[in-house]
């Protein structure tokens, strides 16, 4: 039983790998910011929710790659033009699909991402409950195998 639970956890952690880029990743550490701190804060908030396409699990806010920097500049430009954060995210989803969102929208197959942690916690609780009952049950009351 314990092996089954551990095996499941290991398998799930392996399944949760992120795509990597097939080509070389170019990085650019040049800061590209404006003097508008409010715009920068909004840009950072949106950029933190968008996945860098050439990185392993990084947002475009955190990635130093050139593509991420270009995307971040585009986020800033679109916000400066008056688009809402939702509209900016919708633009990137229209180009890269929902993959671009670090937090997947809760529908369809994505629901697994929300359901599995809950199931694991419930399964773990159930397992602990069974184990505790077994440990606390007097030997004379335990069913003979």
């Amino acid at each position: 039983m314990t092996r089954v639970v551990l095996g499941t956890l290991v398998a799930l952690s392996l399944a949760w790998t992120t795509p990597s880029a097939r080509a070389q990743v170019r990085t650019d550490t040049t800061p590209r910011t404006t003097g508008d701190s409010a715009l920068e804060a909004r840009t950072s908030a949106v950029a933190a929710q968008l996945r860098c396409p050439v990185c392993q699990g990084l947002s475009i806010q955190d990635s130093p790659s050139e593509l991420a920097q270009s995307m971040r500049s585009l986020v800033r430009d679109q916000l400066a033009q008056g688009k809402t954060p939702e509209q900016v995210k919708a633009y990137f989803v229209s180009k890269y699909g929902e993959w671009i969102l670090l937090t997947p929208a809760p529908h369809g197959f994505n629901l697994l991402a929300y359901a599995i942690p809950v199931l694991i916690v419930l399964g773990g609780g159930f397992f602990i409950l069974l184990a505790v009952r077994r440990w606390t049950t007097p030997a004379s009351e335990s069913p003979s195998a």
């Binding site: 039983m1 089954v4 639970v5 095996g7 499941t8 398998a11 799930l12 399944a15 790998t17 795509p19 990597s20 880029a21 097939r22 080509a23 070389q24 170019r26 396409p53 050439v54 050139e66 593509l67 270009s70 995307m71 500049s73 585009l74 989803v93 229209s94 180009k95 890269y96 699909g97 993959w99 197959f109 697994l112 599995i116 199931l119 399964g123």
Partner: protein, 188 residues
């Protein structure tokens, strides 16, 4: 057989098998593009590498997708720092020469690179039959959902993205796609 234990094990194992069965069918490095079937994002980019006669365009000339309606457009994103681009370069250049006189336009788009590097690279590679344009802020690349180079988009005569090839484009595949798109263009 302990059916209770088997049932509990199945509860844990079946979801894992389900997740893996989905994952094994797909390339984990490929980002599925939502673009094929949708109108191609417009672009207007300046030529930095003219190509060769009869496909050449003057340096500085603006290539606009809107001007290419009615033709099948092959938009190839590349960079001089991209090793995989070397693998497809000669083949693509040759295929483009083979479609001279047909309603096909090949356009190379430089990705996160400088025109001087691009020009030097083309010279080192023995030339490029079709023109290449510069995409300075990668805005067109992002508009096409690019996540690496090379990537090649096939835009049908109606302006919609018909196909996308991620990675080096094999010449025979390019010819096959072009022939089918040209046939569709010619049909009423």
């Amino acid at each position: 057989m302990n059916w209770r234990r088997a049932g509990i094990a199945a509860v844990f194992v079946i979801p894992v098998v389900f997740v893996f069965s989905r994952g094994m069918k797909t390339d984990p490095r490929e980002i599925p593009s939502p673009l094929p079937g949708n109108p191609a994002p417009s672009f207007a980019l300046a030529v930095f590498a003219p190509g060769q006669p009869p496909l050449e365009r003057p340096i500085g000339d603006t290539v606009r997708l809107a001007d290419l309606k009615g033709r099948v457009v092959v938009l190839n994103f590349w960079a001089s720092w991209c090793l995989a681009c070397r693998d497809e370069h000669a083949g693509l250049s040759e295929v483009a020469r083979g479609y001279v006189g047909k309603p096909v336009q090949f356009v190379g788009s430089l990705y996160q690179d400088t025109p001087s590097n691009g020009t030097q690279w083309i010279a080192e590679m023995g030339g490029q039959s079709y023109p290449s344009v510069n995409d300075p802020k990668a805005l067109t690349a992002i508009d096409y959902g690019l996540y690496g180079v090379p990537e090649t988009f096939f835009i049908a005569a109606d302006g919609k993205i018909a196909r996308k090839i991620t990675g080096p484009a094999p010449p025979q595949v390019v010819r096959h796609i072009l022939d089918s798109l040209i046939a569709t263009t010619g049909s009423p």
